[in-house]
Symmetry: D2
Subunit: 288 residues, 4 copies
């Protein structure tokens, strides 16, 4: 069911302490906002508290500014990091690709049909190949070629483009370049990568070929946040697919693409619905 | 991680209304109880609110009676139905069986190893076959034979046994008798049945043979509450298993047993952890 | 790994009888053809034999005509129904749609990228909506509107189009019209339909709404051959997806679309690789 | 459906060469044996041929010795390694355990109910804990304690026991000792180990704790043959289970046990049905 228009998502996290839940719920009640969905989790090992509330304003003229100011006062004593997002907000997502188009095609389809409530102000690639796909969807396509010599310059071009597009999320939809540490730093925690293996197995290049050599009976995909450790960023979600001896490396590649698409799309969906919390090298994900 | 000993589960549901969440959370804060896990859901179509909180008392001498009295006052204006259960409570479960032993064996294993924190004061059967299994686990086994003529009498014996055992939950672990309407009434909402099909497909007898005739490529199992409609009670959880043309009906039966065991055990686990709410013909299940 | 170009698929089925396998394998050896993959199954309940062999010709000038004539002699005593197909054959598939585009989009993507080795000479719809998608892929789009009064006429238009396109397979990719018995007859056994439920549960219209009412915890999709019984044709493959109480009917619809796409694509792939055998109301499917 | 009593499984593998299939099928026909199930696979990268045939003798007095002699002549020119096994053969399986009992319990249940057609002449452990379970099933339990100093001696005791039991298969059902190279050598290719992770991720000790640290969203289990490389033996089958942030390491352990049981039992079943072929570090598994 489509959420009503005056519906908001409030998330917060902070150190574990008595009263954290109440800081939200009492405030929501006092301001006449009805909670339609609520999840909290207290990580006992990390002593960390996470909460996500969806609420409906009874007032058709919800005063966002006043709400924010009021809630900031509640959050302050707990040193909460928090966010407030209207349910109907369309997140600005910049997608980065190389030549593989299965993930891009899948994301564009979900975008086009409204299943992913996003805007895509830019598709960035180090190759020209997928321009046609972008054009057909009416999305600006930026081709920034890269060579070992021009890596720094190209990453600056990419970064300028991301900033000018006003990106709220960057998605690496099989972008086949290793990002520099500086670029990882810029994207730390707000860019999602899809790695075509069940990390931490088969890190690095050609994971399906590695999987073939090992004779595994399952292949998978991992969607994770970019951080400064290659293929080691915090995992958001993973998907899996059975395979057998008759799958040669090329077959594993093909077989894996469905699961890559679905896994990446699920991660993006979780992220834009504010279901994912980052803490250290782990995530808390309140499922839909 | 084992929950600490002064940890409790509080659940409630009532009609949707502003302040329902706060009724719990404010009370918990005021009484110095720390929420470690919280889920709420508001069913917009049914206008019904459901909440489950796990909390830790900071007071090593938690006064249950005082807590109950205090919370009853909060719950009363909302006409909440609610429950309070210590996390370490071992639910008294009476298991009913016939001749199939796979579900019983599985439940007993989880009981024996402590994975299911339950007590089993009685195993009831209309056949003597599984007595040895009960004996080995040191559980009283009640054999109440049944014939069409003695059905009423047998059900009364069963009912007496359930009551004398102080059962908090009855599990029909492949009990192959159709319960009378009167018996269904008695067990309505607090007995779990495992049906060996993906209901509502293949209701009734010999579902695997029906599945074979249809040539399905998936078989499954459904754990549901008993109510007055045979095989139509509210579904708690379902499991599924791929099959193919080479599975004759007997193979489907064998193949289906793993999924029956797992599905039933999951339903029992959800129930005793107070994750399941019944409302009409549907359930709300906050997953673990 | 791409099969080499001189590779063929030979399938056959007939009544169970000694020598059926040998009829193929001896002939293949005698003609110098190397078997790279072989599956046979004997259905004891139906007394029916099914076999699928993939072989590589050692002769770069494989004489198809001579092979066919020679094999026909072997097959004749067993009254085998058989087929011979080059592995690189691109099956001519006519796709029928209405307004939902998720399955079409998915099939077109697999077609465009070569994952499904098919040609699509025509997309037929009773609505104009999906013309743009067809155009972008350079595929002729035939819009044949339908009303209760024009049903017969429209089906004749459709049928003419299918025939003129030289279709070897028809795929109903969420074509939302009930076919007349005459049309079912024409398509019997060589048209694949995707039904958006785990048949035989939730036959007919709006299965996701039915599923919501029942409170099921799994939804799924069924790809089956069209025959003269609505939603009762032989099942090729089925897929499944977990859902919960928070999924309103519209959410189930959205959630189900991924599994519909994957299930339909898998069925088409099995069919064109000659992995599916029809016998009565059941299928034998040798998996990839 | 129970296979009829005069049914046999014939497997073979050898280098790829024209006529390999025919070597079996022609011989089976000539000797009047009816093939009910047949799978072959040719590994193009390894140039290796694998075949498994199930056949029914039309002669109620099947002469095994004569069959073997006759087939040996066919197999010799191809240097085939082959095996012949009656379908009703009950494989002698020696099970090794330490203290964890979930896999043992599961195997014993399948043994007791006939789902796994095996005999268990011995259960061997380095701890006394699971004797009661063995006793209840009437199976001899051998307790061979082990210390770093007595490792060699203990392994010799184990080996003597395995030999005296006439074991055809050894199953390490969570046997928590690293085998010496000499012991690995003895068991190479005919002992199945269950590793409680999705190998090659999380090799070695405490994989669930490793998985927790990485924040993975899926855990799994791998059944593989023992060889001389610890946790690197050829994989037979793998299973997987979704987890989330709320699963502490101990929860992952518990959650993983279901999937360990099912994965190990499936591997044992594949092995005793002669569905698994070993070649180098990979397996070919013809599924049931």
């Amino acid at each position: 069911m489509q959420p009503e228009s005056n519906t908001w998502i409030l998330t917060a996290h902070c150190e574990s302490r008595l009263g954290t839940v109440d800081a939200l719920t009492a405030y929501l009640r006092r301001t006449g906002n009805y909670i339609t969905e609520l999840n909290s989790f207290d990580d006992r090992l990390a002593s960390r508290f996470f909460i996500r509330a969806v609420f409906r304003s009874s007032d058709s003229q919800f005063d966002e500014q006043a709400f924010r100011e009021g809630f900031a006062e509640q959050a302050e004593p707990f040193a909460m990091e928090w966010s407030l997002t209207p349910v109907h907000h369309r997140t600005k997502v910049v997608i980065m690709v190389s030549k593989y188009d299965h993930c891009l095609n899948d994301l564009l389809y979900r975008y086009r049909t409204g299943h992913l409530p996003i805007e895509i102000p830019a598709i960035i690639s180090n190759h020209p190949d997928l321009r046609g796909l972008a054009d057909w969807h009416g999305i600006p396509y930026y081709h920034f070629p890269i060579t070992p010599e021009t890596k720094l310059k190209q990453e600056n071009q990419v970064w300028d483009c991301i900033q000018q597009a006003g990106a709220e999320l960057v998605v690496l939809a099989r972008y086949m370049q290793v990002l520099s540490p500086a670029m990882c730093e810029r994207l730390d925690g707000w860019a999602i990568n899809i790695h075509h293996s069940l990390l931490p197995g088969f890190k690095g290049a050609r994971p399906y070929h590695q999987a073939y050599e090992k004779g595994v009976k399952l292949v998978g995909a991992t969607a994770h946040y970019v951080n400064n450790a290659l293929d080691e960023g915090p995992i958001i979600t993973q998907g899996v697919q059975a395979v057998d001896h008759a799958h040669y490396p090329e077959d594993l590649v093909a077989k894996g693409q469905d699961i890559e698409c679905i896994t990446l799309a699920r991660a993006v969906s979780y992220h834009i619905e504010k279901r994912v919390f980052l803490h250290g090298n782990r995530t808390v994900v309140f499922p839909s």
